[in-house]
Every structure is written in structure tokens, then in C-alpha cells.
């Protein structure tokens, strides 16, 4: 009886995230997937049905045309590649800035760690949208940064920073940096510092000990932080829309245009589906690598 009870409890515990996943991810995604195989029409809803039931029985109307379009139209391919490029670069920059930050916080005296972490999380208390708008004020031609640089005599004419890829990078790195710092911090603060003494004892200078012990042991944090930055920034819409120029072509923006501008729900759905596949792929590879490392 006891075992049955324990099994029921375990099932109930597992049921909560399962229901969450079904209702909030699987079901909406099924709808998107379904629409991606339809054709756009003028009407309500603005796409065709997949199955038509007539007097002669039923007929499947699904079409792969949207996916063929994505694969063949250079605009979409370019948008995907550019998004991945921007996201990868921003992730790398976040890592280069976030690692020293996380390291410094993790090695700070214990009573300083929580206040420092609070500072990292503090921007979340203001709306994401407002914080991105604030960057317009800083980066625009007449903005704070240009005025400051001119006042200091460093430049004579304002630098064009708004509506460039540079502004997009600034926006993404700024917005997603905490997602890099937090998992890195969690990994670094857990590390047993006697390992570094052991490395020193065996002949490592401090930087060698870092390279051979600290860095390999922070790999889980690097992986988690990079995924948390890379995935949302690939599909990022607000930042390229507000800070980027017309040439900062990112998939989130294209998707938005297809959906609201062109009212082409099927192509927009196909775009979203492909984006998901593109993002899930690297995650599965990463998991496989980690599993092999654990076994090795």
C-alpha cells in the first residue's frame, strides 16, 4: 500500500510540470504547426483549413509550400543566419563580460555577495521595454553619449550609433547579461577552493590553476548561461525593432512583419517552427555531449 501511495505522489509531482508543458507549450505549438501547413486567404481566420470534408469524403489540403519558400527565398535564409550571427556574437560578448563579473562576485567576501547579486538583478525591476527605450536616449545623435563625447572634446561630430547593428548588440548584451552572470555565479560559488590550492601545490601558477581547474569546472555554468542568452536573443524582436536600423534583419522582426504586416499567418507559423528546430538542435547536441562527459 505504501509503495502505491509513494508512486501516486511521484505521479502527482511529475504531473504539474507535464500539464504546464502541455497547456502552455505543446498545445500552442500544435496550433502554430498546423497553421504552417495551410495557405493564406483573405478572411477570418486568414488561413485555409487542412482537412476538407465534402460529399465525397475528406481531403487533406496540407501544403509544404511555406517551408519551400523559407528554404528558397534568400531574405528568410539571410534573416535566420543574421539572427544566429547576432545572437552568437552577443552571447560571446556576454560571456566575456559576465564571466569576470560572476567570478568577482563569487570570490567576494560572503557578506558582499548577496548585495552584488541584487545589483545584477536590479534592472529587472524596471520594464524591459522602458530600459530599451532608455538606450535610444543614450545612443541617438543628440543623445547623452554623443553629447558627452563632444563635450569632452573626444569627437567633433556625433557618431551614428542609433539604428545600427552596434546598437542592437548593446541592447542585447545589456538586456541579457544577468542571464549569463547568474548561472555562472551559481557554478563558481559552489566550487571547492581547495582544488585551487591543490593545483598550486602541484605546481600551477594562479592563472594556470584557473585554466586547468576553474575554467573546466565552470563549463556547466558557461553552457547554461550561453543558452539562456543565445536562445531568446535569436528570436529577439523588440531590441532590433527599436534600436536596429532597416538593415538589421533579424528573424523576430521578419516574423512580426509576416504576421501583422503581411497577414501571412502560414508563413509566419513556418518561420516560428523552423526557428524552434534551429534552437532545439544545439541544445540536444549539448546535452548529448554532457552525458558523454559524465560517463567518460
Amino acid at each position: 500500500m505504501k509503495r502505491g501511495h509513494a508512486a501516486r505522489t511521484a505521479f502527482r509531482l511529475a504531473a504539474a510540470p507535464l500539464v504546464w508543458l502541455l497547456v502552455l507549450f505543446a498545445a500552442p505549438f500544435a496550433v502554430v504547426l498546423k497553421i504552417s501547413f495551410a495557405e493564406p486567404v483573405v478572411g477570418q481566420p486568414p488561413y485555409t483549413r487542412l482537412i476538407e470534408i465534402g460529399s465525397a469524403g475528406w481531403r487533406l489540403l496540407a501544403t509544404g509550400a511555406n517551408y519551400v519558400l523559407l528554404a528558397t527565398d534568400a531574405l528568410y535564409v539571410e534573416a535566420y543566419l543574421n539572427s544566429l550571427r547576432v545572437a552568437a556574437t552577443a552571447t560571446l560578448v556576454c560571456l566575456l563580460i559576465g564571466y569576470p563579473m560572476a567570478y568577482a562576485i563569487a570570490r567576494a567576501p560572503e557578506r558582499w555577495r548577496n548585495p552584488l547579486l541584487m545589483l545584477v538583478v536590479l534592472p529587472f525591476w524596471t520594464s524591459f521595454l522602458i530600459r530599451v527605450y532608455a538606450w535610444i536616449g543614450i545612443l541617438s545623435t543628440n543623445g547623452i553619449l554623443n553629447n558627452a563625447l563632444i563635450a569632452l572634446g573626444i569627437i567633433d561630430d556625433p557618431l551614428p550609433m542609433m539604428n545600427t547593428n552596434f546598437a542592437v548588440y548593446i541592447g542585447i548584451v545589456y538586456s541579457y547579461l544577468p542571464f549569463m552572470v547568474l548561472p555562472l555565479y551559481a557554478t563558481l560559488v559552489r566550487m571547492d577552493l581547495t582544488l585551487l590550492e591543490a593545483a598550486a601545490d602541484l605546481g600551477c601558477r594562479p592563472w594556470q590553476a584557473f585554466r586547468k581547474v576553474t575554467l573546466p569546472l565552470s563549463w556547466p555554468g558557461i553552457a547554461a548561461g550561453s543558452l539562456l542568452v543565445f536562445i531568446p536573443s535569436t528570436g529577439e524582436f523588440v531590441i532590433p525593432d527599436l534600436l536596429g536600423g532597416p538593415d538589421s534583419l533579424m528573424i523576430g522582426k521578419v516574423l512580426w512583419t509576416e504576421f501583422f504586416g503581411n497577414r501571412d499567418w502560414p508563413v509566419a507559423s513556418a518561420l516560428a517552427t523552423v526557428l524552434l528546430v534551429v534552437l532545439v538542435g544545439p541544445m540536444l547536441v549539448l546535452q548529448a555531449v554532457e552525458r558523454r562527459q559524465e560517463q567518460g
Binding site: D192, T194, L195, E197, A198, A199, A200, D201, L202, G203, C204, R205, Q208, K212, V213, P216, L217, W219, G296
Partner: protein, 367 residues
């Protein structure tokens, strides 16, 4: 100074070393000399400064004052990574992302040893600690005892001049610990490397060491062989930290038959100590008598110190019994009796007995 040390066989010399953390003296003016090839133990309770002292030898702490010489070289300012010293950590500190072989090879790789030599040395070290078949495992796949042996192999791989061991057996269970004590001591004799071990376990220190330094509050109280520190403790703390001791305090009142006579309070009358202790009449003296030196008898023994008392408690431990006896003046003594005869109890509660010990079994304690 350095040459002098080497000439007298002193391998490690600690000279007037002190270290403060905040307002506590972690190590307070410690001077020690350790001979080449010695198994030396720093024994003390937690907070006695033994670990701080060990970390100074490793190079993880720098003394505020004083110098440290290893093999004739002043290493006080030498960083850990350049000392000819390796340490076995209490937590073992094995690199979790590396296999057993990679852990053992770590220092060799760092020293730039060619690959074929390195492979041979790793194999040799793993054979030494009987872990031949485990080279490819990760630390988390090993038992506690196996991890301890990997840590030892890793620390020995560089063939250090001095091996430091921080509570090396602390994480093992009792049975494994006793086996490993003897194993580690015999390994040390075989390799001839100087070992300095930190431990809070007096039994461990006695079993393994050639010499023991007993520490308390950052100071070294006594240095000597296990027999010296046990049989001739120089102060009450050493006497009570290493095993149990019955401590008497009194005043020398005279001498008779080559023995000093000591008056201890009102109750027990005169107790005798060997005259060789060189005590003047009238001086205050404290001495300790180990529980196993005291014999329970039915009548006083003329040649020995004899005190009458009543048995209060008997703790039967199988091989021995620990007996608590209350003397006439209310003082309680601890006596250890060996249960030499099957089925015959060494003593029983309520019995009126005499406690006897030879004058030379009293160890005079310093101030």
C-alpha cells in the same frame, strides 16, 4: 644557519613563526626541527594552530614573523607552486573533471615530464597505492578509501622532499582508518620521505609517528617520541590530551629512601616520587599517573604509593575495565585493569580496595 641545519640532520626547521588572524594568535612563536625521513605529527584539538602551521609549510599562508627552512633552503617567501613539497588534503581535493590517472599525472604534466615517463610514473604510483585497475575512473566513481589513495598517489607522484598530510584519515570509517594507519606508516618508512601530519586523533598520532608535537592555542607544548609524550608529559594539558591521567598537586615535604615525599592536600597522606626529579623541599609539584599504571589490591603495598578507596563505577570493555575509585577525601581516580582471566571481573562496585603504583610511575608535570 641553513648549513648548520643540514649538518645536524635537520630537514625542516621552523624558527619563531607566528601568524595572527584578526585578534587571535593562530600560531604563536613556534619553533620546531624535524629530522630527515621522520614521520612527524602535529597533534592538537581544533583551533590549536596545527593546520595553520601545516599550511605555512605548504606555502598557502605566510608567517607574520619567523622563518621556515626546508632542506637548508629558506622557503618562507617561496610560493606554493615552487616548493618541493606536496600536500594531501583533508577533503582530498581531487579534480572532479579528471580521471584517476589524470589526477595523478597533473603535477607531472605541470612539471613538463615527457609523456612516456609520465605514463610510467602514474602506473608506478597507482600500483603503490593498489589502484592499478582504476586509472580511467572519475573520482565520484570511487569509494572514500580509494579516493584517499588517489590523493596519496597524486601527492607522492612528484617525489616531494616533504609530504604534508592534513587529517589524511579523517574521512574514513574506523576499521579502514586503523588499517590505513599502519599502511601509511610503512609506506613512509619504505619511501624515506619526511612526512608532516596534522591530526586531532592522539591514537592516530601515536600509531604512526616517530615524533609528535602537541599543540594548544597556537603554541607547541611538547615535542617527543610517542612514548616520551605519553609517559613523560611535561604539562597537565599534554597528560590529559594523550589518554587519561590522574593528576596530583602538592608540595614536596622531604625525601626518604631515594624518593621525594609529596603532601597532596589533607587526605591521602604522603605520596612518593623518584628523587631524580630533583625537587627541592617545600616546592609545589604536580604529577600524573596513568590509569593502567595503578594496580587494584586488597592490601597496601609497602614499596609503592597506596591509597584506600571505594569502587564507584566499573566500565567493562572486554579486554580491559575502566574503574572509578573514590578516595577518602572525595577525590576520584581512574584505573584501568586488564581482564586477564576469563569470567573473573577485575573489580566490582562498592568494593573497598587499595590503589597502588610505583613511585617511578608518577610523571612530574611542568608549571
Amino acid at each position: 644557519m641553513a648549513g648548520e641545519g643540514a649538518a645536524t640532520g635537520t630537514f625542516l626547521r621552523i624558527d619563531g613563526v607566528a601568524k595572527r588572524f584578526g585578534d587571535t594568535n593562530a600560531v604563536d612563536n613556534v619553533s620546531l626541527a624535524v629530522g630527515r625521513g621522520t614521520f612527524f605529527s602535529l597533534l592538537g584539538a581544533s583551533g590549536s594552530g596545527k593546520t595553520t602551521l601545516l599550511r605555512m609549510l605548504a606555502g598557502f599562508e605566510t608567517p607574520d614573523v619567523g622563518r621556515v627552512w626546508i632542506d637548508g633552503e629558506d622557503v618562507t617567501e617561496v610560493p606554493a607552486y615552487r616548493r618541493p613539497v606536496n600536500m594531501m588534503f583533508q577533503s582530498y581535493a581531487l579534480f572532479p573533471h579528471m580521471s584517476v590517472a589524470e589526477n595523478v599525472a597533473f603535477g607531472l604534466r605541470q612539471a613538463g615530464m615527457p609523456a612516456h615517463e609520465r605514463v610510467a610514473r602514474v602506473a608506478e604510483m597507482l600500483a603503490l597505492v593498489r589502484l592499478d585497475g582504476h586509472a580511467r575512473r572519475k573520482p565520484h566513481q570511487l569509494s572514500g578509501g580509494e579516493r584517499q589513495r588517489v590523493a596519496l598517489a597524486r601527492a607522492l607522484a612528484l617525489q616531494p622532499k616533504l609530504l604534508l598530510l592534513d587529517e589524511p584519515l579523517g574521512a574514513l570509517d574506523r576499521k579502514l582508518r586503523e588499517e590505513t594507519q599502519l599502511e601509511l606508516a610503512s609506506l613512509q618508512r619504505r619511501l624515506g620521505i619526511t612526512f608532516v601530519m596534522v591530526t586531532h586523533d592522539q591514537d592516530e598520532a601515536m600509531t604512526m609517528s616517530d615524533r609528535i608535537a602537541v599543540m594548544e592555542k597556537g603554541r607547541v607544548l611538547q615535542v617527543g617520541s610517542p612514548a616520551e609524550v605519553y609517559e613523560s608529559p611535561n604539562c597537565r594539558h599534554v597528560a590529559e590530551f594523550l589518554g587519561a591521567a590522574n593528576v596530583f598537586e602538592g608540595r614536596v615535604v622531604g625525601s626518604r629512601n631515594g624518593c621525594a615525599e609529596v603532601q597532596c592536600g589533607e587526605g591521602p597522606g604522603l605520596l612518593r616520587l623518584p628523587a631524580a626529579t630533583g625537587l627541592d623541599d617545600g616546592s609545589a609539584v604536580a604529577f600524573a599517573v596513568r590509569p593502567e599504571k595503578i594496580v587494584i589490591a586488597s592490601a597496601p603495598n609497602a614499596g609503592a604509593n597506596s591509597l584506600a578507596g571505594t569502587i564507584e563505577e566499573v566500565a567493562y570493555k572486554g579486554d580491559v575495565s575502566i574503574v572509578r575509585v573514590r578516595l577518602g577525601d572525595g577525590r576520584r581516580l581512574r584505573v584501568q585493569e586488564t581482564n586477564t582471566q576469563r569470567g573473573v571481573p577485575a573489580a566490582s562496585r562498592g568494593e573497598e580496595v587499595w590503589l597502588c603504583w610505583r613511585p617511578e610511575d608518577g610523571a612530574v608535570l611542568g608549571a
